[in-house]
Amino acid sequence: MYEFVSGPLVWISFGIFFVGLLVRVIAYVKGLDWQKDRVAYSAAGIPGAVKSIVYWLIPFKSQAWRDNPVFTIGTFVFHLCLLAVPIFLLGHNILWDESWGISWWTLSDMTADWLTLLFFAAVVFLIIRRIVNPDVRLLTTGYDYLIIAIAAAPFVTGYMAYHQWFDYKTILIIHILAGELMLIAIPFTKLSHFVLFFCSRAQLGMDYGIKRGGRYGRGICW
């Protein structure tokens, strides 16, 4: 079982992940229509697109991030941990060094452990916000919780595996499966914002950069 989930299934899930995301991006770009979107897409829009992305990748850079400081911290902690911990985890790096001969800078296990707890804190915050804030509650569906669960499952099981709670080998297999499930789910669910965030932001940035004032006015200040 371990051999299968840590072998072929890794290839399959990474394959679906990369191909799926590529397909999503291509489909997005192909579905753009200058006349229906009413944006004369051209290279002239690139500065607007870059600005639109950068302003939202940096905490407190955009007005909306500044207006919602608590949520901003919560969501940035959530996303940074979600990306940094698995990518820079020593154990993962050893595995792909052994399999593919690639590895990079790593976090110490102690740091990763704390970041995982920080991630759990962010998850709890996001869930509580969904329950407590009436606007978010009205919008929230079961699907939103499922998405959080898919993203959090590798961390919960990873934390258990690292601390060797319960039956180690079983937990480890579940952990690997959870990670693979997340990779596979990304192109097919809302998690596709992994790439579509950039597509959508770039599109609106171009819209403002080309049509809505970018050409004559001062352009949008996010």
């Binding site: 371990y2 052994e98 102690m110 060797q164």
Partner: protein
């Protein structure tokens, strides 16, 4: 009831294993000084289990190459970390990589022995 008895059997087994291990004065773990700032507990390793019980050839692990041939014999250096340091040095692998490659490589190839992190680096005593 079933769980209780399983736990009992496991405890007895553990005690027996450890008692046996101590009695034999065998190497029990790869506790090397080069890993000053270790990220995980030292890997468990029973020399006896590998050399005597499994009858694995010494040269599977110990090595000293001359003209591409492993000429190691038991009069030569036995401590892995006298060559394999914390960081890789030229063609010499880092200690961690040497152990991982050697142990996991063999376990995988033979389909025997642990290959996951926690099985070699257990937290529980």
């Amino acid at each position: 009831m079933k769980r209780k008895s399983v736990a009992l059997v496991m405890t007895v087994a553990c005690v027996l294993v450890f008692a046996l291990a101590y009695a034999q004065d065998d190497i029990q773990s790869l506790e090397h000084d080069v890993f000053a700032d270790r990220q995980r507990p030292a890997a468990t390793f029973s020399h006896e289990l590998h050399a005597d019980t499994a009858e694995i050839d010494c040269l599977e692990c110990h090595h000293a190459y001359e003209n591409g041939e492993n000429v190691w014999d038991d009069s030569m250096e036995t401590d892995c970390t006298s060559c394999h340091k914390l960081d890789a040095d030229g063609k010499t692998m880092s200690a961690m990589k040497a152990f991982h490659t050697n142990c996991k490589g063999c376990h995988t190839k033979e389909g025997k022995g642990p290959v996951t992190c926690g099985e070699c680096h257990p937290r529980k005593e």
